[in-house]
Amino acid sequence: MDLSLSTRTVGDRTVVEVGGEIDVYTAPKLREQLVELVNDGSYHLVVDMERVDFLDSTGLGVLVGGLKRVRAHEGSLRLVCNQERILKIFRITGLTKVFPIHTTVEDAVSATD
């Protein structure tokens, strides 16, 4: 399955809904989307990963890259994920300490800490 991306605005947050597989082939599309959002002035991003079937380190690298970009503008990048097999990859790499991970988009959008 290929990657699907859609964005919507909720208050001052931009929610990026990602579906399908994020790997070495598709990750550049996600990178482009995040770069474009930051260039357009969206610095508070919520990446909804509930429909992601597969994530590898290339995808993690893109998310870390996105985080670095929004931080440069004092922004935030929050993730929404409940899937154990995806969460496991964040734990293995220690990235659970780096990304705030929420169970619902509503939680992520209203989070301020």
């Binding site: 597989e21 790997d23 070495v24 082939y25 597969f54 590898d56 380190s57 290339t58 993690l60 690298g61 870390v64 890259g65 670095k68 097999r85 990859i89 293995i92 790499t93 220690g94 990235l95 300490k97 780096v98």
Partner: protein, 146 residues
């Protein structure tokens, strides 16, 4: 002898194919269903790394994936043809500090970190003719029926 051997040109779009083939062969070999996700992810990481190495070094040679089913173990070997330190074993997987360093892309290192975190039995070697990542998983002994 290898159960299945796969060679693919070092293009990112073929890594998914390698993942699918590896998972299918692992399932047939009797690797537990719960572990197949790990097999898929680990082989994907190893192949992505090999593709990156070949492309980064301008190599046109294919990436090699060897899947071997034995009595009690299923193993996967992913080989690249980028020469490294002879007889060397690659260790010292980068920590999270490297990954978060704004000046370092770090995806390659993160790939190895994922493999090391996922697979108990993994060996990364490099030599004059290229590098190899060898991973193995126990099998239950009862292969899936055709």
């Amino acid at each position: 002898m290898a159960t299945v051997e796969l060679r693919f040109s070092a293009q990112p779009e073929h890594v998914r194919t390698a993942r699918l083939v590896a998972a299918a062969v692992a399932r047939r070999a009797g690797v537990e269903e719960a572990v197949l996700d790990e097999v898929r992810l680990a082989v994907g990481e190893a192949c992505s790394r090999a593709v990156g190495l070949h492309r980064g070094n301008g190599l046109t040679a294919p990436v090699r994936v060897v899947l071997t089913e034995e009595e009690k173990v299923f193993s996967i070997e992913v080989g690249d043809e980028v020469p490294g330190p002879a007889g060397g074993s690659v260790d010292g997987v980068a920590g999270i500090d490297v990954v978060l360093d704004p000046d370092i892309e770090g995806e390659d290192e993160m790939g190895l970190a994922v493999i090391s975190g996922l697979v108990d039995d993994v060996e990364v070697t490099s030599g004059e003719s290229g590098g190899t990542i060898r991973m193995s998983w126990p099998v239950s002994g009862t292969s899936a029926l055709p």
